[in-house]
């Protein structure tokens, strides 16, 4: 009983309730989380974080952090949980804990038209084909799984990866909709979305420190409930299918 009491006392859930605030780590990635024209954070994750905090009855605080520092900051307690489009892989799961997926974002290919005309999907899986992607984000994982033979270049943010394709330094990149379609619309002569197909990842989940069964229980159930009541689906569609939010951001 002592051990149990200890466990629940040290759970991050307990700490959040006690402090009256949940600190959420994230790093900017359209349309998960981004800066609008006024410099405020908006995006799917922000909605998720706010709802989560509201349901727990605490304040919410978002802490944008450079990607390199995000896991160390989680470990050291700078924030309680990372909600930043992290896709679940077994290797990562050995290091941090993941909740159940709160999103299954589909990613599509954005290709440099001139460099990839007439190529079938299988043609991309060759060493001479270069993909660009943002380090540590879902598309990078998906590319690794779908096109293991292709060369994968990792950049610090999405803009750089897209620019590689625009400049013809990479054949293609993958991104969550609606970004690829928007890029194709903005630069019709150079890039296009060659396949309608959406490639599904393993799903994105909250990441938090290991050794915390209470948190697992709480986050999983919160996600389960919000899947069931359709809230997550609705938000997901808003950010990933539609483009109503686009005029809040300079794209």
């Amino acid at each position: 009983q002592d051990a149990r009491a200890d466990l629940s006392k040290t759970s991050v859930i307990e700490q959040i309730k006690e402090a009256g605030v949940i600190k959420i780590g994230l790093s900017v990635f359209v349309p998960w989380s981004m800066r609008d024209k006024t410099g405020e954070l908006i995006g799917f994750e922000l909605d998720v974080g706010r709802k989560l905090a509201a349901d727990m009855g605490v304040e919410v605080e978002f802490i944008p952090t450079a990607w390199d520092g995000i896991i160390p900051a989680l470990v050291s307690g700078t924030f309680d949980v990372i909600i930043s489009g992290m896709s679940v892989t077994p290797v990562r799961n050995l290091t941090v804990n993941f909740s159940d997926p709160y999103a299954y974002s589909g990613v599509t290919i954005l290709a440099n038209t001139a460099m990839t005309t007439g190529m079938a999907l299988e043609d991309y899986n060759k060493p001479e084909i270069t993909f660009a992607a943002r380090r540590g984000a879902t598309p990078a994982t998906v590319i690794g799984q779908l096109f293991p033979e292709a060369t994968l270049l990792l950049f610090d943010e999405d803009g750089a990866a897209t620019q590689e394709v625009l400049n013809g330094n990479a054949h293609a990149t993958m991104m969550s909709e609606p970004s690829p379609s928007m890029e194709a619309r903005n630069n019709p002569e150079t890039v296009s979305v060659p396949f309608d197909q959406t490639f599904l990842a393993t799903g994105e989940a909250f990441a938090y420190r290991k050794g915390d069964p209470d948190a697992t229980n709480f986050f999983n159930n919160w996600i389960g409930v919000n899947w069931a009541n359709g809230w997550l689906k609705e938000r997901n569609d808003y950010w990933f299918k539609g483009t109503e939010w686009a005029d809040q951001v300079d794209q």
């Binding site: 359209v30 605080e61 802490i63 520092g69 900051a73 620019q163 630069n187």
Partner: protein, 296 residues
Amino acid sequence: MRRTKRRSLHWLDYLIAAVVVAFIAVIWLRISGTLNYKWQWERIPNYILRWDEADGRWVANLLLQGLITTIRIAIYSGILALILGTLLGIARTSTNLVIRMLARTYLEVLRNIPPVVVVFIFFFFLSQQLIAVLNMETWARGIARQDDIAVWEFFFGDMRRFPSLISGVIVLALFESAFVGEIVRAGIQSIPRGQREAARSIGMSWTDEMRFIVMPQALRKVLPPLSNQFISLVKDSSIISLISVQELTYKTVELVASTRMIFEAWIATACLYFILCFGLSLLFRRLETGGKHKPR
């Protein structure tokens, strides 16, 4: 070299001028042709200052917020680094071997490992513990919840982020102090032995000797390298975005990630850094020559 400089142009001057002009021309000609990019400069000003409809006034947007944070961080950690660095510099010239070796170890570790790791080490093993011990987090949040916090915000920005800011300042200061220490050491060692002997031979104690004879002279000598180091500190401050401090470089990353204005944003940031750093170096040069009314 004490040479009178020529006043007329040499043929090499014309050659160099031609090369520079050609270089700029090539860039100019090709920038529209080859570069597959839609310039959107008109959007940048909004991210420096924007008109707030609700409040009806101008407020700082991402880039300016970042710049302000950078300046805050630079000032606080500059001061702290100066203090720590001076102690380290004195330690490096100590007659005690243990103190010298410890100071040397600190310097070599900092000099030889990548900044990212230095930041992690200082952050997790030092400043984070310090903040936990002092319970700074709760304290800062308490202040953030009060109403009248204009003064706090002027000095420290968003009080919720106060612990991060303090961590950033400590980490950056520890990082830079190693280099400041080397500068101070060089300054101390540049004071001729005779000065210290003269001080001793009128019976001064070690502290008086340091305080009245060595330091005032060393300080004058180290001012130029110190001001360079301060400029480096401004530039290096971007590493603390790793520990959630939102300074200029990180704000730019966010801006680029959100808007894809990869060139405009980075060039604008380059200009902001240039203005800040070059302005500082002009200022320091001014102070140096201003302080030269005293001979030597």
